[in-house]
Symmetry: C2
Subunit: 463 residues, 2 copies
């Protein structure tokens, strides 16, 4: 791999205005890391692309010159996936942020990769539609979401990003612009390259457009807050909730510890609830009666499983206090400590309680604060190691020990390394440990099939 | 590639009983083709595997000896995918037909590849669950369904096979047994190799087990039959039906022509309906009121779009006459002619009417009968060229002309070569024409990443 040299800058500036080809002090330091913060690397040059043709020219040039290309959206990742760990070209897509088509006959929306989730939600929402995936980080780009197969709270009912991507147009390292998939909702036409690109974190091709499936916006929404005596009783109710046919949109678990952090962060209080944990459920549908019937069934079921009560989150005030807290969990944990790292494991939903027990044991054993929250409905836990006042050495040591322990426990429980945040740079060794050498070798060969020279986001996912 | 020699048979019989290693006249002629019939090839040896360990031994041996291995389930395919076009070993999986686990906490069922769809439906149905994909051919195996990413009528609401496969355990050509994915419902842990194997028609690895997601069985079901004056008016109502939020489970279109063929085939009549076409809608849910409200909305909408009437398919007699007809469409068309070939295109659902117009034009121009039926809700058409009394030469010529025309029209409309039946041997040239050389080259490289010696189902999908 080569570094970017003056002649390369000259080439880039031959077809891009200088203000979109930035070097040195002109590159905002934010571009040297993502939201995780721990993985760092300064790109040799930051290129802000505005069209697929530009992306094509940049890639084919970089491929000839053997210069790494790291594609970056809004930089909200948590695994160092969009960090230029080996310098090279950072290809930023946030200026490619047009919504190019809404097709109401086929219920699709076509977007450039830099469209922000919040803007997409607003655009389709105003027209009576919903794009179901809803990661907490709404300032992420759709390109980043596709690249990590992002999930979000509504995954229980609606599935994840993969389930809504009908096609992606992507640029191969050699500059060809190809569309994988089409505006059809089912497809058995050869290997699903589209599904390979989804979740590939910029290592196989650069996404320049995507056609997404949208659904009619549900007319009715209802949230329930069910406090339980313990985390264990709360989460143990979940498999039955899913099995019951009440079809919840989201099933989140909240712990007293994380609720308190959110209260501190926001400076306002969460509704007073008894017990150490709660489930936050949402229901949606097209008739108020149907939604309330299903919510009633769920309430009874929670009470039967030991909930103190079940509150309907209906007044504007209560909605605001519950959802504003839920939305800031990550920020609140981040603000509570000096540095953090995250474990985004997903386990079969029946194993959440067992996994949480391991977290508790680990926290005591290594003497580190490990708050967590997550998606009880789909077994995806967000577990945060907080550095607090630890010295660098001790922090690195404990973090390593903690990760080793938790990822191996997740594997024992039939879990996977990441539910929705991806592998990037930070979780490579755990991916390799979890999947084993045969699968990693297959991934290396797949990588090579797309990117024989290895210029696309090197050292991410596979090495 | 080598043919099977006596020494190879000796090796196979060293660990398999002779009755499961068949050659020559002991191989039923059915194994020389699939349901399409037109693609033919006799395997050198038919091996009926009973365990993944046997599959592993067979593959690693064949890989060393460069002998093709064609995996076959129930042989219900329609594209010659499971036909041993170059001889070699046919590896039959129908004896691997155990349901090995039902996990009610996580709502999964784990099956061997030879389990038949009808047996899976019965098993989970008796326990209060549903496996949503429902291809018309219920005597297909689940291994075959995964290999073609089979769809079915409920795809409109529930999606296709891909959406329900949480993990596949597959044997690589070198004999390694690997599990891709796990019992988790979301996953962002490296490239989704599982999604690559789904739909790969036995060309990348041999599936020996799969863990499938199941859902609670809906308590209520309702079908509606809406006759329309014309195919065009019927199908034109569909986008609005989908957009309305009534959430239909299935939206099928029926033509007068195909209904008549089914009546002839069954020797009983379909309910008397006016007009040239009809929509058959189904709704399901957990409360009778909710289902009937949604069905009422749909009925009003159909009437508003020109339906003569909307009949609830509620009496046992009417259910039987409607659904028995719908189920035999393929068999009825097959029985009506001497030979047939099929086009399983999928187009954006707004383009069905336009595509049907091309079929009509083509049928007139080349003087061939081309009945069709399909899934209006997802744009998947099943189009049948019927040979009837044509001479071999004329038939081949017209078929070629017809396919060339229809696949190019489908591509113009943004469609894909196959919605649910796959590519196999019969549709390779149309896949290549539709996707272009860059995508085919990527597929060849992916094939090579899994199967460097090319022993797995050669000449299928890619060549």
């Amino acid at each position: 791999m080569n570094r970017v040299e003056p002649a390369d800058l000259e080439y880039l500036r031959s077809f891009l205005p200088s203000k979109r080809v930035l070097v040195g002090a002109d590159i905002n330091p934010e571009y040297a890391h993502d939201e995780l913060g721990r993985i760092k690397g300064v790109p040799d040059v930051l290129v802000r692309a505005q069209s697929k043709e530009e992306v094509s020219k940049i890639l084919s040039y970089a491929n000839r010159r053997l210069i790494p290309v790291v594609t970056r959206g809004a930089g909200t990742g948590l695994v160092g996936g969009a960090v230029a760990v080996k310098g090279g070209i950072m290809l930023e897509t946030t200026l490619m942020n047009r919504i190019t088509e809404l097709d109401e006959e086929n219920m699709t929306v076509t977007v450039e990769p830099g469209v922000l989730l919040m803007d997409l939600a607003k655009y389709v929402g105003e027209r009576g539609y919903m794009y179901p995936p809803d990661p907490g980080e709404t300032s992420a780009t759709i390109g980043g979401n596709i690249s990590t197969n992002a999930g979000g709270m509504r995954a229980v009912k609606y599935g994840v990003t993969r389930d809504y991507v009908l096609s992606v147009t992507a640029v191969l390292p050699t500059g060809e612009i190809e569309t994988f998939g089409s505006k059809v909702v089912k497809n058995s036409s050869g290997y699903s390259i589209k599904d390979l690109i989804i979740g590939s974190e910029g290592t196989l091709a650069v996404i320049v457009s995507a056609t997404l499936r949208i659904v009619p916006s549900p007319k009715e929404n209802l949230s329930l807050l069910a406090p339980f005596p313990t985390f264990q009783t709360a989460v143990s109710a979940v498999p039955e909730l899913i099995r019951s046919g009440t079809d919840p949109t989201a099933v989140e678990f909240l712990t007293r510890e994380v609720i308190s952090l959110a209260e501190d962060y926001l400076g306002k209080s969460f509704p007073r609830i008894q017990g150490d944990a709660a489930l936050l459920l949402t229901y949606d549908g097209f008739s108020a009666q149907d939604v309330s019937e299903r919510a009633d069934m769920a309430s009874e079921l929670c009470i039967g499983r030991g909930a103190y009560d079940v509150y309907i989150v209906d007044t504007e005030e209560r909605k605001e206090s519950v959802w504003s807290a839920r939305r800031v969990f990550l920020e609140a944990i981040k603000a509570s400590t000096t540095e953090f790292d995250e474990c985004d494991v997903v386990v079969p939903r029946s194993k959440i309680v067992g996994f949480a027990k391991y977290i508790g044991e680990l926290s005591e054993r290594i003497g580190i604060r490990i708050p967590y929250f997550g998606h009880a409905g789909d077994g995806n836990m967000h577990v945060y190691f907080c550095r607090d006042g630890l010295e660098e050495d001790a922090w690195e040591r404990k973090l390593q020990e903690g990760f080793d322990f938790l990822y191996s426990k997740a594997a024992e429980l039939g879990g996977m390394v990441s539910g929705e945040h991806g592998i990037g740079f930070a979780k490579r060794e755990y991916l390799a440990g979890s999947l084993g050498s045969n699968q990693m070798e297959l991934m290396r060969r797949i990588k090579k099939a797309f990117d024989p020279k290895g210029i696309l986001n090197p050292h991410k996912i596979v090495t």
